[in-house]
């Protein structure tokens, strides 16, 4: 734990303007190329939205960023993913270490069937952290960051599965935060939620970006417009346009982008 804290402090002192970048990142499934060489830089402490139709490659790209595609048998990821001057796509880099720094929140909330508290402490304990005072502190901090603390602070021993869908999703965010990642990847985190839960998560994201870099895949154009600072539009495995969100939604440079964000589909 102490070591990790030091690590974070060092990071704060060195100003990494770019939290993560990819250089000509390609993903192949056998002969099929799903992603045709994407180069992008993600600015630190900003929210970047990845948008595009199904099959555009945005989710494939997102999952490559913390090497989730490694677990897909036939997927081959080539090109560089630069994180703190290190190519984390290289075979020498420990995948689990990557995922500790670059956390992921999925489309469907997937809490463990354990108590709310244990959902957060589980991974930490497995990493050898047993100082219960410290653990309690992390539980509180991360639940606060995920805007869930007020609702669950008296029920930490209750099963996570008893929470509503939106609360479960915020718990999953808190769980990801407990590992103190730098970067949070979110794969359509609100598509299974109602508008109120969605608004709560979006609110939490605005708080989170003070400390984390967030990359979110969303099908909801209004969501991308509302929450993100930058937007990247993918189409048929290519990055078509990347710009400030306000530009993408007011005057994009590429006609394909304009058609997509305005809902002019075929």
């Amino acid at each position: 734990m102490a070591k990790r804290t030091t690590f974070t402090r060092v990071l704060d002192e060195n100003k990494y303007e770019i939290a993560l970048s990819t250089n000509n990142l390609r993903v192949n499934y056998g002969d099929y190329e799903a992603l045709h060489g994407v180069s992008l830089q993600f600015e630190r402490y900003k929210i970047t939205a990845l948008i595009g139709a199904s099959g555009s490659g945005k989710s494939t790209y997102l999952r490559s960023l913390n090497r989730m595609n490694d677990t897909v048998g036939s997927a081959q990821v080539s090109g560089q993913i630069m994180y703190r001057n290190l190519d984390i796509n290289s075979a020498q880099v420990d995948v689990y270490e990557v995922r500790r720094h670059i956390g992921m929140v999925f489309q469907r909330p997937n809490p463990f069937s354990k108590s709310i508290r244990e959902n957060i402490t589980f991974a930490l304990q497995r990493r050898g952290l047993h100082d219960s005072k410290k653990l309690e502190q992390i539980v509180e901090t991360t639940l606060k960051q995920a805007s869930l603390w007020e609702q669950v602070k008296d029920d930490l021993n209750k099963s996570a599965l008893a929470l509503s869908g939106g609360q479960q999703q915020r718990l999953c965010i808190a769980r990801a935060l407990a590992l103190e990642p730098d970067i949070l990847l979110m794969d359509e985190p609100t598509s299974a939620l109602d508008p109120i839960s969605t608004a709560n998560i979006e609110q939490a994201m605005q708080e989170l970006k003070q400390h984390y870099t967030i990359i979110i895949v969303t099908h909801n154009m209004q969501q991308a417009a509302r929450v993100s600072d930058y937007t990247a539009f993918f189409h048929q495995g290519k990055l078509i346009e990347y710009d400030q969100t306000r530009r993408i939604f007011t005057r994009p440079q590429v006609q394909l982008t304009e058609d997509y964000v305005s809902g002019h589909f075929g």
Binding site: A53, S54, S164, G165, G166, L193, P195, I196, A199, G263
Partner: protein
């Protein structure tokens, strides 16, 4: 002048002791798209399912009040639920085509109704696939499995399946929430076309969708119908503060 095709009068619905609908009274107008919105657990889907008695399939459900379809009480003793569900079809959130060919998916309801003449079936397949705006995509592969299609196409096949039995009302329960924006837009445009021939009731979590395609919007909250009005009215100038807060995204 649009008239009501469905009239609900003081509908209460209980799951065991829990009252999920607390006295819903509303009219659904013929030839219009009615959107039902509200947060999870507000009762909108429960109410939708009560319109063709889908809730009958859940044990421990008790319903009181009256729901009339063309003046006939659908919970009355002489109402045949099979017949009812033919007249009031339902499309679900997750596309659920049967593991048959596209053709057999579409004619499923007709075969159940005992219709087997090839000519009639062929005609129904073409008409309903055209109405569901998917004929051109699939006309050359009607014998292929419906499961091989994309999610958006599967959903349109499911809609064609409902259309094939020529219902009067189509209920849709978040029909595009599992789809990407392009597929969702195609379905929305299709619904706008279908409205010329059918009455459509759609439950949606997308305010954007409700505002774009519906004529009437009903806002549910905690088992009650808070406000129902022309969509224009609801989105520009709702009467209730709760409605305003919900549609403008100001919650809690």
């Amino acid at each position: 002048m649009t008239t009501a095709i469905i009239t609900a009068q003081d509908v209460h619905l209980y799951y065991g002791k829990k009252e999920a609908l607390k006295g819903i009274t509303m009219q659904i107008k013929r030839g219009e798209i009615t959107a039902m919105i509200g947060p999870s657990g507000c009762g909108k889907s429960t109410f939708l399912r009560s319109l063709n008695r889908m809730n009958d399939l859940i044990s421990n459900v008790k319903i009181t009040g009256e729901i009339d379809l063309e003046g006939q009480n659908i919970y009355g003793s002489e109402m045949d639920t099979v017949q009812l569900r033919k007249r009031v079809g339902m499309v679900f959130q997750q596309p659920n085509p049967f593991p048959f060919s596209i053709y057999e998916n579409v004619v499923y309801g007709l075969r159940i109704a005992g219709i087997n003449q090839r000519e009639r079936l062929d005609e129904a397949v073409e008409t309903s696939l055209r109405q569901a705006a998917i004929w051109d995509d699939v006309k050359d592969k009607l014998d292929q499995s419906a499961l091989a299609l994309s999610g958006g196409q599967q959903q349109r096949i499911c809609i064609a399946r409902v259309l094939a039995v020529q219902p009067e009302v189509i209920l849709l329960d978040e029909p595009t929430s599992a789809l990407d924006p392009i597929s969702a837009t195609k379905i929305e445009n299709m619904l706008l076309e279908l409205r010329q021939h059918y009455t459509i009731v759609i439950v949606t979590h997308s305010m954007h969708q409700a505002s774009r395609i519906s004529d009437q919007t009903a806002f549910f909250y905690q088992g009650e119908l808070i406000e129902m009005d022309q969509t224009k009215q609801i989105f520009l100038n709702p009467r209730e503060q709760k409605t305003e807060d919900y549609i403008s995204g100001r919650f809690g």
